[in-house]
Amino acid sequence: MSTETELSTPTMETQKPTVEIQSAVIRFAGDSGDGMQLTGTQFTNTTAVFGNDISTLPDFPAEIRAPAGSLPGVSGFQINFGSQEIRTPGDRPDVLVAMNPAALKVNLADLVEGGTVIVNEDSFQASNLDKAGYESNPLDDGSLEGYRVIRIPLTTLTLNAIKDTGLDRKQGQRCKNFFALGVVYWMYDRPLDHTLNWIQSKFGRNPAVLEANTAALKHGFNYAETTEIFTTHYSIRKASLAPGKYRNLTGNQAIALGAVTAMEKSGRELFYGSYPITPASEILQELSRYKKFGVKTFQAEDEIAAIGAALGASFAGGIGLTGTSGPGVALKGEFIGLAVMTELPLVIVNIQRGGPSTGLPTKTEQSDLFQAIYGRNGECPVPVIAACSPGDCFWSVLEAFRIAMKYMTPVMLLSDGYLANGSEPWRIPSLEDLPDLSFPNATDQDTFQPYARDEKTLSRPWAIPGTPGLEHRIGGLEKQHLTGNVSYDPQNHDNMVRLRAKKVAGIAQDIPPTEIYGDPEGDALIVGWGGTRGAITSATEQLRAKGLAVSSIHIRHINPLPPDLTDIFSRFKKVFVAEINLGQLWTYLRATLLLDSISINQVRGKPFMIQEIMKKVEEQL
C-alpha cells in the first residue's frame, strides 16, 4: 500500500521533548466547506482507538453552505480527551484551530486564557477579514495578546505538498484540513495510521485525491516536527476504562444499533417509520443500511404517516419505531394518543433541539420534557425515558422497547442534539449481557378478549392479524373493559382512564434503585436527566474535591418516576435541578413529589459547562 511510510508510527522517533498531560480540549473551526466535521471525526477516532477516554461536540450551522467566510457559515467540532474519565466535551478549548477569520471571531471567546490558537495565516486577507467583520487584522493588531498564536500558511503549504498529484489549485486547497490535522496529530503525539487507512478506503478509487490528502496529512505532521514554531508536544496516556472491547459511537448510531438489537432479541421485525428532520435523520440513514437484518425502513410523506405506519406495523406484530425531533413530535401527537387508546407497543424517539417552532435545528436543548409527558389531548399517559450519554442511547432503546412490549404502550425516548451527534467510547456488550425481549403473541381462541388484562402489568394481549379466531377491531374510540367494543358508558370511561394511568404508573415496579454519585446524604443534591449527566457528575466531583457535601443523581425513568426519589431528596438540605430549559423537570418534581428545589438552567443551544453548574451550587451553599 502506498500509504505505508516511516511516519506511520512516529511516536518514538520524534526529536522534540514530550510533556505528559492528563487531558486536552481541542476545537477545530472553519467554514462549513472546510471539512471541520470530518477533521474532528478523524481526530476522535484516532484518539479513541489510541485508548483515551473522549467526548465530542460537533457544532454546525443550520445552513448547508452559508456564504464562504461568513460568521453564520462557521462549523466547529470540539473534542475533550484524556487519561482520566472524560464526561463532557469540555467547558473551554485549550487549542483552537481556526481556518479563517470568521472561525477565529466566533470561537475565540471560548478559548481558555493563555490557550493556543492555530490559524491559517493565508486566509487572513482583506476580503475574509471584512466578511468576518474585523476592522484590522487580529494577527497583527495585538488583540490576540494573552494567547499563544501559531500562524501557519496552511493554504500555501498544502498546495506545495500536493503539487505533484495533478490536482489543480482549487481541488488542492481542499486538502488543507488534512494538513492541519497532521499538525495537531503531531502536537498530541497521535499515530497517523487510522486516518491514512481511512483516506485509502475513502479515496482508493481516486488516486490523485488519495495521494493529495495523504501528502497533506504527512506534510502537516512533518511541518510541526521540523519547524521551530513547535517546541514540545504532548502525550496523554491511555485511559483506564473498564476492560472490554470498545468502539466509538454517536448517540444516533447507538439508537440504530439498539433498534437492530431489540429486533434480534424480540424475534420480531423492526419497522422504522420516519420523515427527515434534523437532528434525527441519521437514524433513518443508519437503519436503512441494515437490510440484511430484515429491518424495514419507511421514509414517509410526513411525520404523521411515519408514526402511523409504525403503529400499523406494531398492530401487525412487528416492533414499530419512529424517530424525530420536537416539531415532529408535535405532529405525531394524535397518533401517540391512538397508540395509548389501542394499547399497542411503539417507541417514539425525540432528538430534542432548540425550540419552540423551528427554533435552533442544529443546537441542543431539553425543552420537550413537558411535551413528552403531557403533550396530547385527553388523559394520555405515556412512559418517558431519557438517555444520558451517546452510548447510553443504545441501552435506552432496549429499555424503551422492553417497556413498550411488556406493558403494551407507546414509549417516548428522549435524546438530544448533543447526544445525537456527540460521541464517546462505548464498551461493546456481549450477547449474554443483552436483555431478553421476547414477549408472546396471543393465540388462545377460547380465552381471548382484546381488552382483558394481565394481572401484574395490566397489559392487554397482543393479538396480531393472521391469527385464526382472534379477529377483533380496535380504534380510537373509548373501549369497553375486556371486550374492547366501543363504549360511551360514563363509568366505563372513568374506569378505563384510571386503568390506563395505573398501568403506566405500575412500570415503576421495574425501575432499579437510583444510583447516587457521592454520599447518600449531605448539603446538596444535584438532580439531572438526559444529556447533562456528564457535566453534572463532573461538577459534583469537583465540588466534592473542594470539600463540599454535594451528591448527584440522574433520572432515566421520567414517567413514571423511580419510587425512591422522595426518600433520597429528604436526605439533603438543598436539592438543585439542572437542565437545559426553563425548569421543566423542576416543575414536574414539584408537581408530582412536592419537591422544593432550586432550578439551574440555561437555553443557549449548548450543553452545560461544568463551571456554571458549580457556580450556581456554590452560590447557594
Binding site: 482507538v49 485508548g51 487510522h194 491511555k238 483506564s240 476492560p243 472491547k245 470498545y246 468502539r247 466509538n248 444499533l257 437492530v260 438489537t261 434480534e264 421485525e269 419497522f271 417509520g273 441494515y290 437490510k291 440484511k292 437484518f293 430484515g294 424495514k296 419507511f298 414517509a300 410523506e301 410526513d302 404523521i304 404517516a305 411515519a306 402511523g308 405506519a309 400499523g312 406495523a313 406494531s314 398492530f315 401487525a316 406484530g317 412487528g318 394524535e334 397518533f335 394518543g337 391512538l338 461493546i428 456488550p429 450477547l431 403473541n441 396480531i464 392479524p465 393472521g466 385464526p468 379466531g469 382472534l470 379477529e471 377491531r473 380496535i474 380504534g475 380510537g476 367494543n485 366501543v486
Partner: protein, 351 residues
Amino acid sequence: MKLKGIQMTANQSSEMIDLKLDRKDFVSDQEVRWCPGCGDYSILAQMQKMVPNLGVPRENFVFISGIGCSSRFPYYMNTYGFHSIHGRAPAVATGVKLANPDLKVFVVTGDGDGLSIGGNHLIHAIRRNVDLNIILFNNRIYGLTKGQFSPTSEMGKKTKSTPYGSIDNPINPLCVAIAAEATFVARAIDIDTKHLGETLERAANHRGTSFVEVYQNCNIFNDGAFNDFTERTKRADQVLYLEDGKPMRFGKDLEKGIAIQGFSPEVVEIGENYSIEDLLIHNESLSEPTLAYLLTRLHFPEFPVPVGVFRNVEKPEYSDLCRDQIHAAQEKEGKGNLEKLLNSGDTWTVS
C-alpha cells in the same frame, strides 16, 4: 411471525372452496349504527358478500379506516380491523402491509377523510402502489359532523358551514388517483349493488393499490345528491358502464355513445351520422393514463357518468419491492449477524 400467505392467483380456486367461508362469517356481532337508509349499508352488504370469493382466510383480512361515517365500517366486518384517526388510514395500512405482506388490507375512507385531511396520505399510498384496496365513500358532505360541505361538494352548495353557498372548487377523486399514478381506478354506485359487488371484487383481486370511488347517498345531510343519474329509471341514459375492449355505449337501447373530436369527447347518436365503429373503445390497461383521465372528465349532465374500471395496469408492488430488497441484501451479504454488527467499525480492547 410467519404466516402462510394465500397468493391471489387464478389457479388457487381449489383453496377458495376449501375455506368454506360465506357472507355470515364476515358479519360482526356489532350493531350497525348508520342512519337508516344510508348508502353505507349497501356497500357493507356487498363487501360481506364479496370477500368470501377471494380465497383468503378470514384471519388474513384487515379493514382499516380513518374518521367519519364510512370509517365505522371495520367494526361491522368480522375480521381484524383498525379504526384509526382522521385521514391517516392509508399510513396505518401501509405499515400493516409492509410488516406482513400476506395480509389482505382494505382501507375504508370518505370524501372528507380521504381527500381533505388525509389527501396527502392518499396520494402517497397510491404512488407507491402499496397493495391496499382503498374504497372511498363519496357522499359530498360531512355526515358525522352533521352537514358541512366537503372537498367534493359542488360550487355554490348550501350547507351548514356555507349558508351563502360554497366558493370552493370541488376535487375529483379519480383525477387525483390517476395523477398519483394509480394502477387500478374504478367507480361504482351504492344502489347499483350487482355492479358495485363486481367492482369491489375486481379491485380486491388487483395486486397494488386499487382505488374505488363509490357514490354513496347520505340521506340525512345530502339526500339525493346523485339521484339525477343513479335512480333506476335514469341509469340507462345517464350512466356509462365501462367495459374493457368494448365501445362506449349507453342509453336504453345502447343508441348513444362517446366519440372523440380532436381532444374532446362528445356524445353521439348511433344512426345516420355515426356508427359503432366511430365510438371510443375502452381500454383499461393502456400504459399511459390519458384515456382514463379523459373519462374522469366526463361531467354530468353534459355527459353520462362513467362507472366501472377506468384503469387497471400492472406495476411492481411496494411490499414486494421492500421484501425483495431485503432478500437481495441477505443473498449478497448473508443474513445479519448481531454480534458482528455490534463489533463492527474501529474497535480497540482495554485489558
